[in-house]
């Protein structure tokens, strides 16, 4: 009997399973990777898959992460060893884009700050002056699927949308009403800088002390992408010293943040529990898609969520 390991204690075992009807396989929740009979592994986004996977379970030919980001998978190494690596493409793009624009609008209008101010007995003058959304410059770093949806929402709010993405040409951006700028210009001129880049060695600490110093002192940062895109210590310094006006983060260097997470003490910061991806529909979609892709794999068909073609299958 072929076995599939589910490395996710919260995986709902009643979602999408009809896709496996008639296929001879057993699914097993575990936190241990081992066994010659294991052919596939489906993992939670928090679950790191080791590069020596095939030493633990030599017959694994498919590894899937239940998320869009796949920094928990050594996809290049495993693909080179003939293992199919899967992620879930665009199951929550709309949610992330909406959460991002929610945070941008709430920073510019000062909503969370003013709510706290009223509860402390304040009224007027406002300690955080609301700013117009209309005409504010929204700078999108990374113009992929989510970045493009953020642009649509920003445009609907009559914001001036600019974007930086070295892999997207000017015409593609212009056709969406977005002005292509270089990263320096984006960071120096935007009212809100929002990150929508994947986490890669070259994007780690994309926002660092030098970048914060480049930002306007009345500008905001939104990060609904990945925690390590931002140098967390540098963000804390920038907030405490007023280098920037504020930030909203949905992602952290360590998730969940530990009780001594320093960000809890930083001013002008909105904190979210990695919730940008969420809607009731989006919360089940990745499980459905991974089980459907597992069924394709077990039937010998090509999964839809392949990160890259593995060696020996081209």
């Amino acid at each position: 009997m072929r076995r599939v390991l589910i490395l996710d204690p919260l995986w709902p075992m009643d979602v999408g399973m009809e896709a496996l009807d008639g296929i001879d396989v057993t699914l097993e929740k575990t936190d241990r990777i081992e066994g010659d009979d294991v052919v596939a592994i489906l993992a939670a986004p928090e679950q790191t898959i080791p590069a020596n996977l095939l030493e633990l379970a030599p017959n694994v030919r498919l590894v899937g992460t239940c998320s869009t980001g796949y920094d928990n998978l050594p996809a290049v190494e495993l693909s080179a060893q003939g293992v199919m690596c899967l992620h879930v493409k665009s199951y929550c793009d709309e949610e992330v884009a909406e959460h991002t624009i929610t945070l941008a609008a709430n920073l510019l209008r000062g909503v969370a700050h003013l709510d706290g101010f009223v509860r402390e007995g304040g009224w007027w003058p406002y300690p955080r002056e609301p700013r117009r959304l209309a005409g504010s410059r929204l700078g999108i770093v990374g113009f992929g699927r989510i970045g493009r949806l953020v642009a649509i929402q920003g445009d609907a709010l009559r914001m001036e949308v600019v974007a930086f993405d070295e892999f997207v040409d000017e015409a593609t951006m212009q056709s969406r009403g977005v002005q292509k700028v270089d990263l320096d210009t984006l960071i120096e001129t935007s009212d809100v800088v929002t990150l929508h880049a994947p986490l890669l060695p070259e994007t780690q600490h994309l926002m660092n002390a030098r970048r914060f110093a480049q930002m306007r002192d009345d500008a905001y940062l939104v990060n609904c992408a990945r925690g390590p895109l931002v140098d967390h210590v540098a963000l804390g310094d920038a907030l405490r010293m007023g280098v920037i006006a504020g930030a909203a983060i949905d992602v952290y260097p360590v998730e969940p943040p530990p009780v001594d997470e320093p960000a809890f003490g930083w001013p002008n910061l909105i904190l979210q529990p990695h919730s940008a991806w969420y809607s009731a529909e989006a919360s089940l979609a990745p499980y459905r898609r991974q089980i459907a892709d597992l069924a394709r794999f077990l039937r010998g068909e090509e999964p839809e969520g392949l990160i890259m073609q593995p060696e020996g299958t081209r």
Partner: protein, 310 residues
């Protein structure tokens, strides 16, 4: 000739730039007195009665940096030849922006989630974020600000319904919404936004019976006037979970007193009557009033002059 400014927050340099070409001097003063005073610039806290003419008999104009004018004796002053000028539509963009920010905030749960993270909560979310696109926004009222809100909310992909006694179905459709009866709006909406002006007809319009028609997972957003909603009925609905939450920029008493009950209601965002604000609207509230007074002093018709009958 002098223009007296009785609001100590009024930017005098800009009032001077606008008014001095009319051959007047502009000064801050708590007293309005003298034959040479031709105009007064005031604010909602600065009442101007007809008795002002006892000390300033040659007064011709009163400008206020507000839309509301219940602090001015408009009719009595007009009978004595004084025209009061208010400012209108100076913050339409801001109120639309702030209302949109609150609609996003309640649907995505961001203010609650911020508090929960700080208390150590992570997953599962006690307040589950919901999609914005496709959610139903019910807009009560269809004036200039409401029109802008309908356009913006439909542009971000919301399904917008409007209840109004004055609007035509064609006007609402052109803005991107659908005109429906109020009861239907209340029963359908994910978010109900109060956008009507306060009149005798709208006072208490959203009462306990109206709130009871709302969905248990619906939110109420009020950036208009507190008295349109039965405040205590809203509190009961929030405390019993009859609706999911509220965002209020307006309260029955402002500034909020320490015993304001809304401060203890669950799932409620409170704002310090801030929806109107931006640096631009703040500036316009002063400049538009000063410019209307300048029009009067030049012998032109003011844009927002109030003469009886009004």
């Amino acid at each position: 000739m002098r223009v007296v400014v009785i609001d100590d927050t009024w930017p005098l340099d800009r009032a001077r730039a606008i008014l001095e070409p009319c051959g007047v001097t502009v000064e801050f003063n708590t007293e309005i007195a003298g034959d040479d005073v031709v105009a007064v610039l005031t604010y909602p806290g600065g009442k101007i009665g007809v008795d002002v003419l006892d000390a300033a008999p040659n007064l011709k104009a009163v400008g206020t940096c507000s839309t509301g004018f219940d602090h001015l004796a408009v009719d009595a002053l007009a009978e004595r030849g004084v025209c009061c000028c208010r400012v209108t539509h100076f913050c339409d963009v801001e109120v639309v922006d702030h209302t949109m920010a609150l609609i996003y905030a309640v649907l995505r749960g961001v203010v609650m989630l911020d508090g929960l993270v700080r208390e150590g909560t992570w997953w599962p979310y006690p307040r589950a974020p919901r999609p914005v696109r496709g959610s139903i926004l019910g807009v009560v009222g269809f004036g200039a600000i409401s029109h802008g809100l309908v356009e913006t909310a439909s542009a971000v992909g919301m399904d917008v319904r409007v209840a109004s006694e004055h609007a035509t179905a064609g006007d609402v459709t052109a803005a991107g919404g659908t005109l429906v009866p109020l009861d239907e709006l209340l029963a359908a909406a994910d978010v109900v936004a109060i956008m009507t002006s306060l009149t005798d007809r709208t006072r208490g319009m959203i009462d306990a019976a109206a709130i009871a028609k709302m969905r248990p997972d619906a939110y109420l957003v009020n950036t208009a006037r507190a008295a349109i909603v039965d405040h205590l009925a809203l509190g009961r609905a929030l405390e019993t979970g009859a609706i999911a939450g509220a965002a209020l920029d307006v309260l029955p008493v402002e500034p909020a007193p320490a015993d304001e009950p809304a401060l203890t209601w669950p799932n409620t965002i409170i704002q310090p009557h801030a929806a109107w604000y931006s640096a631009e609207s703040d500036r316009r509230s002063f400049d538009d009033a000063a410019e209307d007074v300048a029009r009067l002093l030049r012998g032109e018709e003011p844009l927002n002059g109030m003469r009886p009958p009004i």
